[in-house]
């Protein structure tokens, strides 16, 4: 034990001596590194590489934001509603085309069934075609409209804090008794004219599809306005 103690004392003394030598050596090095100009006038100047030891430039805090972050919600809502409107636009158009083509086949078959006397004394096409038109076209278009209402309700349910105005489509009974076919009899020679008028009723200017699209656009506009007014 004493041997160890004396060894440890001598180790401490040795370390202290080494420490002093190191310190002297560092001072000497620092003296030798001084810029000669610093000896003149006794003024101390920074070493050429002293800026490495300078503290990093102060990190400034971020500036306060001046932008309205709520507008991002408006943007998202707007996009959802416009996408809904555009999708309805495309789907109702595609459906109308499909339904018209089915209805055309029906009209063709019906016209072909008309016998010799039937062709001489034709029944008004509107009278014969009203119910099939309702079943084949109107009902299907209304189903698509209901689907659109449901998908819109789903979108709106994601924004529960807003009180929404009524957004149902208006029931569309445009030319409910097919007055556009009043003076035309159902027979093969009138088939083209009948289909032209029906096509116009479905997809023409002011027709069923255009009216439904107009409703969708007006609903979309109203909802966006409501959201932006209450946000």
């Amino acid at each position: 034990m004493p041997i160890i103690a004396s060894n440890s004392e001598s180790l401490v003394a040795e370390r202290q001596l080494m420490g002093r030598i190191n310190s002297l050596w560092l001072n000497l090095l620092s003296f030798l590194r001084r810029d000669l100009r610093s000896f003149r006038g006794g003024s101390r100047q920074e070493l050429p590489n002293a800026n490495l030891d300078k503290p990093a430039p102060e990190q400034l805090d971020p500036l306060p934001s001046e932008i309205n972050f709520q507008k991002l919600d408006q943007l998202r809502f707007r996009r959802d509603i416009l996408d809904w409107r555009d999708e309805f636009h495309v789907r109702i158009g595609a459906l109308a085309e499909e339904l018209f083509s089915q209805f055309s086949i029906y009209v063709e078959n019906k016209a072909a069934e008309v016998g010799f006397f039937g062709r001489l004394f034709t029944k008004p096409a509107g009278e014969i075609l009203q119910t099939p038109f309702d079943d084949l076209v109107r009902v299907e278009l209304t189903k698509r409209v209901k689907e659109a209402e449901e998908s819109l309700a789903q979108i709106l349910s994601k924004w529960p804090t807003t009180i929404w105005p009524p957004f149902s489509f208006t029931e569309q009974n445009l030319d409910s008794r097919l007055a556009c076919l009043d003076e035309i009899g159902l027979k093969p020679t009138n088939q083209e004219e009948i289909l032209d008028r029906m096509d116009n009723l479905i997809s023409g200017e002011g027709g069923l599809v255009e009216t439904y699209r107009g409703h969708a656009a007006s609903i979309a506009r109203k909802l966006i306005q409501t959201f932006e007014a209450t946000a």
């Binding site: 500036l63 996009r79 996408d83 555009d86």
Partner: protein
């Protein structure tokens, strides 16, 4: 100045977007739970060089994707094809529906003016042919005015290209931004006319004019960022976004002289463009509040050689 700009690659965010924990709105990603903005999508100079090589003259947004793929082997190097494909894949993974938006800028437009010059030339050629060959409702006086404005725009891009050689380019950039503002108003008026004129809108002319308008506005903003007028850049970006909403929201897939399918793609593209414009002020505001130097930000983007799209992480 806080100079550390943290860019990441979009792939780092794709899984979270797919899983629904991040929501994409225009050119930014938000945390679905907290509503905080997590990152801004930002195109780099590489995106511009890739796009301007061949696809700027695409006739419509629908043809754009096909053009991108078809021109691949002929015009691009193998590396560029890979970069282009990865850019398209990133846009799709981030649920940006259409490619058209990539032509008009995601985030701040890095208006590498050499590429811009090429693009305006190509647009000019197309518009010229279109108004000559299609009945577009343009009277000869309007045609002449349109041509004059296209020339002025090209002249402005030339000036912008030369501006960095000035000893103090800031003043020149400011003047260019003002002049582009006038040009943008003109093209906005032309688009408004095209939309309001009776009948359906000619898709190709609409698409070319829309590109000119959006590029003019992008360069206006770019010039303000270059001069570090970030607050003003944000104001301009906000007003541009409002204008786009007023102009484009009324358009539906059925507004165009095209099949419903093509009309739907055009409608989606203009929605993406409108949303990207509407989120641009948030990116600029972020740069401003973080005290980023506008010039430095653009330099970083212009010098990017690996990734056409980057994400600026929000700290």
């Amino acid at each position: 100045m806080i100079t550390q700009i943290l860019f990441e690659i979009p792939a780092a965010y794709e899984a979270a977007v797919k899983a629904g924990s991040l929501v994409q709105i225009g050119g930014l990603l938000k945390n679905a739970a907290t509503g905080q903005i997590v990152a801004h999508l930002q195109e780099s100079g590489l995106a511009h060089s890739l796009i301007s090589t061949a696809v700027a003259g695409a006739a419509s947004p629908l043809k754009l994707a096909a053009d991108v793929m078809n021109v691949g082997s002929g015009v691009y190097t193998a590396v560029q094809v890979t970069q282009l494909k990865s850019m398209i894949a990133s846009l799709q993974s981030l649920q940006i529906a259409t490619l058209g938006v990539s032509l008009v800028g995601l985030g701040v437009t890095v208006a590498g003016f050499i590429y811009m010059h090429k693009r305006f030339n190509s647009l000019d050629g197309r518009i010229d042919k279109l108004i000559a060959s299609v009945h577009t409702g343009f009277e000869s006086q309007r045609e002449a005015a349109l041509r004059a404005h296209m020339s002025q725009v090209k002249g402005l891009v030339k000036r912008a290209k030369q501006a960095p050689t000035l000893s103090r380019p800031e003043r020149e950039y400011s003047r260019i931004a003002e002049d582009f503002s006038e040009q943008a108003s003109h093209f906005e008026g032309e688009l408004e006319f095209l939309i309001k004129v009776e009948g359906k809108v000619n898709v190709e002319l609409f698409w070319q004019l829309a590109q000119v308008l959006t590029l003019c506005n992008s360069i206006r903003i770019d010039c303000r960022i270059r001069t570090n007028e970030l607050r003003n850049a944000r104001e301009i970006a906000e007003s541009v976004a409002n204008d786009y909403q007023m102009l484009f929201d009324q358009l539906t897939p059925g507004s165009f002289q095209a099949s419903e399918g093509e009309g739907a793609v055009v409608a989606k593209t203009i929605r993406d463009i409108t949303d990207a414009a509407a989120t641009k002020p948030y990116l600029i505001e972020y740069l401003r509040t973080q005290r980023y130097d506008g010039r430095e930000y653009l330099d970083r983007l212009e010098n990017e050689t690996q990734s056409p799209l980057l994400m600026l992480r929000v700290l």
